[in-house]
Every structure is written in C-alpha cells, then in structure tokens.
Symmetry: C2
Subunit: 460 residues, 2 copies
Amino acid sequence: MKREKIKILFDKKETIDEALVLGWVRTNRAQAQFGFLTVNDGSTILNLQVVYDEKLKNFEEISKFRAGMSIRVVGKIILTPNAKQPLEMHATEVEMLGDSALDYPIQPKRHSLEFLRENAHLRGRTNTFNAVFRIRSVAAMAIHTYFQQNGYLYVHTPLITCADCEGSNQMFKVTTFDLNNIPKTEDGLVDYSKDLFGKNAFITGSGQLHGETFAMAFSDIYTFGPTFRTENSNTKIHANEFWMIEPEMAFCDLEGLMDIEEEMLKFVVKYVLDNANAEIDFCDQFIEHGLKEKLNKVLNSNFVRITHKEAIDILLAAKQKWEFKPSYLDDIAKEHEKYLLDHFNGPVFVKDWPKDIKAWYMKDNDDGKTVAAVDLLVPGSGELMGGSQREENLDVLLKKMEIHHIDKDTVDWYLDTRRYGGCIHSGFGLGFERLIMYLTGVDNIRDTIPFPRTPKNCDF
Amino acid sequence: MKREKIKILFDKKETIDEALVLGWVRTNRAQAQFGFLTVNDGSTILNLQVVYDEKLKNFEEISKFRAGMSIRVVGKIILTPNAKQPLEMHATEVEMLGDSALDYPIQPKRHSLEFLRENAHLRGRTNTFNAVFRIRSVAAMAIHTYFQQNGYLYVHTPLITCADCEGSNQMFKVTTFDLNNIPKTEDGLVDYSKDLFGKNAFITGSGQLHGETFAMAFSDIYTFGPTFRTENSNTKIHANEFWMIEPEMAFCDLEGLMDIEEEMLKFVVKYVLDNANAEIDFCDQFIEHGLKEKLNKVLNSNFVRITHKEAIDILLAAKQKWEFKPSYLDDIAKEHEKYLLDHFNGPVFVKDWPKDIKAWYMKDNDDGKTVAAVDLLVPGSGELMGGSQREENLDVLLKKMEIHHIDKDTVDWYLDTRRYGGCIHSGFGLGFERLIMYLTGVDNIRDTIPFPRTPKNCDF
C-alpha cells in the first residue's frame, strides 16, 4: 500500500476506503472504549485526527502511545464537514514504529522560543516551526520560479574568496592550518604560501562582484546562497550566517530595478499565499495578527517612489519628536522608516541617497551629491531590499574606489566588466531571513533559519 | 520600446515589425554596402544575425564595431526558413552602448579551456560556457522542481559548524582571529573562547546529519548548498568548493531510495532536454558527441540493481586484465565501473557494500558483513550518487560510532533522532558539478562551476 501524505489528504478532501499514513504522534486522548491520536507527518501543519477503538487487538497498547512516537496507521478516511477538521481517519491498524523516550523535550504544551532554540534539532516538530520552515521552503521556490520564468541565470558565486574588497574585518578567515602550529616566514609572519590556496582566504559576504561579471554575459542573473558576516552583535535581526539573493541585470537602470523588485516581491507573496495557505493561516493566528491582511494588501498596492531628500522633507515636517534628527546627509533610522510607512500606508522605495554613506560601486547621479541607490521599506519590517544602479564608467569608478580605499589590484578582473562591453546595469540584495520574518511575522532572525549562527552560538 | 530577449525571438519565430535588442557583439562581417553583426544577449546560446546597410546614417561607424561591445539594435525580425538560422534582424538603428578595448581577451576564435579558466570572469561570453552555465542553471531549477512537486522541504543546513564528526582534517577552519596574533591560553594553546563562536569552528563537508533531524519532523527534505573539502588533490573531478544536494526521507528503505534516485535523475534529464535544448545541442555537437542520445537513452532505461557481491562476481568472471583486482572486501575502481556500465549498457545501482569501507551511519544488513548502501553508476561518468539507509537502531549506531572513533558527545543532538520517534530512513548525496559534467559532457570540474576553487587556485 502506498503511503498517503497528510497534505494530500487535506488537499483532496475525499473519502478513501483504506489509506496508509506514516507520521508522528502529537497527542493521544485515550478513553475507555476508544481514543483519538493526532498525527503529523510534516507534509503540512495540519494534523490528522485518527480515531481508534477497542475492536483493535492492540487497543490497550495504543492507548498508551506518547507524543513523539513514529507510527503507522491504516484506516478509512471519512469526511467530517460539521467538525472542526474537514476529515478524520478511522483506524483499522495502528502500529508503533519508533518509541519516544519519556524525557522527550517537545511535549504537547506551549514551549518558549528560547527553549526551542536550545532544541533546534527538534523544533521542526512544533506547530510554529513546522509553519515557518515550510514557508521558508515555499518562499525559496517562489524566488527560483520568479527568476527562472523571467529568463534569469542562477549563478553559484564562490563562497571562498581571496578578493578582500569588502574589508577583511567583516569576513571570516578560512584556513587549513593547525592554528596551534602555523607556518611562519623568516619575518615571523604567517606564511600563507603554505596554505591550501597559497594565500589568505575568506568566506564571502556578498556575491555581487562575481554576479556582475555574469550579468555582462547573460544579461539577467541571480545568486541565492549563504553569506557570512563576523559582526559581533546580538540583535534580533543579525546573524553571522544567512542566505542572500543578489540579482544583477544588464541594460537596467534604477527605475527598471524598482520595477523588478516590486514585481518580484508581489510574485513571492502571492506564491506563498497560494502554496502555504495553511501555514500562513497559522502564522496569522498565532504569530502576527493581521499577517494575511498585510500580505494581501501588498499585492494590491503600488509601491511609492520618493527620493531620500523627499523622505527627509516629510520627516522634518512631521509633528513628532525624534530620537535621531532626520538629516539630508544621513541614513534613515528605524523610527523614520516606520513614520514613512505609516505616512504612505504601504511599501516605499527611497532612492537617490547621499553618496558619502553608500558603497563605492553605486552610480553617481548628475547632481554630484547623490548615488542611484534605492532601499525598499515594507510595513512591519522596514528595509527589505537594498540595491543600486552600478557605476559603469571606469574612470568615475576608479576615482570612487580611491576615495573608499578599495585596492583596485585585487578586483582588476571586476573592472574588466567596464573595459569590455560595459553598459548601464543594476542589482539588489535581498536577505532571505529578512523576507521570512516579513512573510511569517516572526520577529527574531534565530527563528527563521534552521540552525542559527550568532556570537557564542554555534551549537549543533 | 520593450526589450526583446533573443531566446524569446527564437522561441516565438514570428515576424516583428519593430523590435529592440540589447546585447554584445560576437562578430562583425562588414562589406562595402552592408554587413552582418552576430549579437548575443546571454538569454540563449543562439546568436541573432543583424543585417545592416549603408542606408543607416552611422554605417561607417557600425562597420568598425568589434567583438565584446555592448550595443542597442532596433529593426525588423524577418523569418528566413531557407537559411541556416530561422530568423534575422534587418536593422533600422544600431548604436554602441559600451566600447570594448582592443585587448579584449575573448576574440572570435577557439580559445583553450585553460586560457578561459584564467579568464573565468569573461568566459561566460563564449559559446561553451554560455551553454554549460545555462544548463547548470536549468538543472538547478529541475532539482528544486522535482523535490518541491513531491512535497519535500528545502532545508538550509548550516555551513559553519562546530560538530567535528567527519574528521576535522577534511574541513576548513573558520576564525575571526588575526592569524599573526592569535590569543593563547596559559598553556600556550589557541584560546578558542575568544573567537566569535567561543570554540573551534569549521565550514561543513555535508549537511546530512542536520538534514536527518529535519526529516524526522518533515518526512521528506532536501538540501542544496555549497560544501567544502580540504583535499589537496589536483584531479579533473575534485574541487575544494562544490554544491551538493542531500535528500533525506523518513519511512524510506534502500529500495525506496533507489526508486527516488532513478525517478529524480530521469526528471532532471527530461527537464534539461526540454528547457535547454539549444544548449544541449551545442554540447552534443562540440563537447560530447552522442550526448543527446546518451541522455535520451537514460530516460527510457530501467536502472539495473545488483549487489556489490554480484558486481564482483561479474568482474572476476570477465575476460579482462585489471589494474586493480576486484575484491569482495573493497571499493570498485574506475575500470570496474566502466566494465559494469558496458556490461549492462545503462545505469547500474550497486548496493549492499562491505561495511568496513563505508560510513558509520549506514544501516547494518542482517548478514553482519554489509551495509544498506548504494552507489549509482551512469554511463560516461561512473558514480553519480551515493546513498544509504541510515542505522536507526540507537544501540547498533553507538557501537558503530565507537568502531569508527566518532565522538558521540559532539553529535548527541543527532542521536536524539533515534531516541524520539526514530524510523527507517534513507538519504543520498548528489554532487551537483558531477551532474553537470554528466549533462554537458564537460570532463573537468573546473569548467562546470563559475569560479572554481582548487589547490593554489583561488583567483577572482
């Protein structure tokens, strides 16, 4: 007999005379002559209610089944339109496959998120993480689907890199050396020539530069992979290892970039609502009240586009006391983001940022003061994506690199994109965990990634 | 005017009165009154032939356009059923967007693969790498599509890990320390407590153990991410950074595992043939003659399933001189793989391997001598996937760990999968670059990954 996944049973909503289900016991309510097992197999957040009764030869044994056990159930699927759940199973066979020791940490009660982080290897068995990680998986597929449908090339940019262009103090060092016994040169310094790559190597914080070289061959490309930062900060939105999506588009200016960001976000939201509806319902009910309304509203909104200057104008005109005074020369603080989002009651692109606070590869605007950069702010989460038109003029770029103290020799290959067939091009970065927080309402990045890596925290 | 991608023009094969194309010049054949540009925009391996003539006001200028320049072309798309290519463009406007310096390395001639590796940032602009990286992108989407359609959860297992279970000598060390100034304890040893994670950290060689914990919550999961090995070997099939797919299935035994591997491979091959047909045609013509036939044959074959013992029986009975004598206790060499593939004239699963040469987590068979492991061999490439049923019995597993000198304390969390609701389960690993070699005919792993990392080679 072929196994039926619980998700398929709920999708089909059909009577089945004999079905086989394999999964794990969530609860067991045993009474004198019958009992109810709730069974989850991880295919959906929905549990299957299994009714068993004393006609089963191992009724006594089943009555004692505990949370966490893996079981095999055969029975009839019955539609129950008047009950809380649309269907249930009347069991003809129930068998334990794997026992669950008495000290099973995930009991049928509410556990704190802190406790579940300490049991990250088991937390997928709770409703919350069943929902969050299913949405994460569906959202990843949404992103691939959007870009592939639109002809983008998925590029695996390298994780290990020797191009120290982002400042090595932000990057982890990678080595094959025994740290207790590092080979030294005559000068007493580390002899990197003896390491596997023959030089100082890092794990990357971004695939953008490599991505740009591919955009100059394939027009539209995207990366989707892990990135790393050594930041020693314990906040709800920082992790040392996280996943990023970095699209780069040739022949695309800042306005085109915003079009793509908006279209992509709407596509992903719609895909998740369509393909993880039970999980979104759960998050709406238990994690962020109004989540579903928030997401549906985004689908139907036109994202506002304002300049950084216009944003500051609005903030300065606001009748509000600021912790950080809005400034035409400075970044926008969390409180400012929130005000702008309330003001426009929907997602806002803020573009044309002061050049001094933005990265060296961003395109200088004609005003000499700003760059063609854009941040997308979304209700509930603030900044979700950051992107820019890239400086395609080699001479201007070289000057900017000098100002930002970027060693041009280490990225000479990158500069070739401006020497040979360069063109107007743009790209953005989307932190995948930030997106999952937005899609689920979860407010701590540690609860959006299976095994989070944060300072002093690298268990499992 | 909206840009038309060249792939769409070739897919549609329709006359268009006025189309806008943006791309890069591949060749320019200028004659006295007219000329031909071949233009590629990276959306397909196919080039668009653009015909221009002296009626264009900048005809002289266009005549001098060089390989590598980015250009903007407006013109009429004309069907040319009797020509080599099904359509061409008659230009009404041709404009240079980005110049290409005279020393542009990618000239319209055959370059060696070695030369192109040294220009990895430009090689996507050649036919070969246009085809290979497009197939890579399409194959990645095929894998996601297969698993998501079948209800698998995509899991991002951690890259940074402190669980030293695979032997740290195979793993890169990761640190935030300045290697010239490492904090020491009173004993003069590295003081890992001062590092970001407070302990010795690595980048991972496999997500399997983490994946298994998720399979015990979600039934069917897969990973798809980068993995790392410090192996100091310069061969055509080893890289220090590569991408792996590692599915894990609860309630799945070895036979079920083989069913999934076979179904998945056929799905991926079919998807690539359907979605990258022009690129496969190119590889068939210029990289591996007979590639397309090989791939189509796999679609229609039933994969043979034999035991390791049966394989050795066949090899010993063969009228052939071996460099390595086949042994019931040993691995199967490349020459043996080749013989078996010829013998069966199609893909072969070899299962039930001698336990001493296989990993500690594989399920002991009842014979006491073998484990429920399986390798899939495919014509042209040899071993493509390796998997096993996992030992789900905690006591047996603990004994195996002792024999293999695995420190059980570092993976105690993993052992919980056997303490709480364990079940029969299986998984496999598929090296993504190995798959790309198989799908394209490319015989060096360095030519299947955008920026390869091999010993002494970490440029870009």
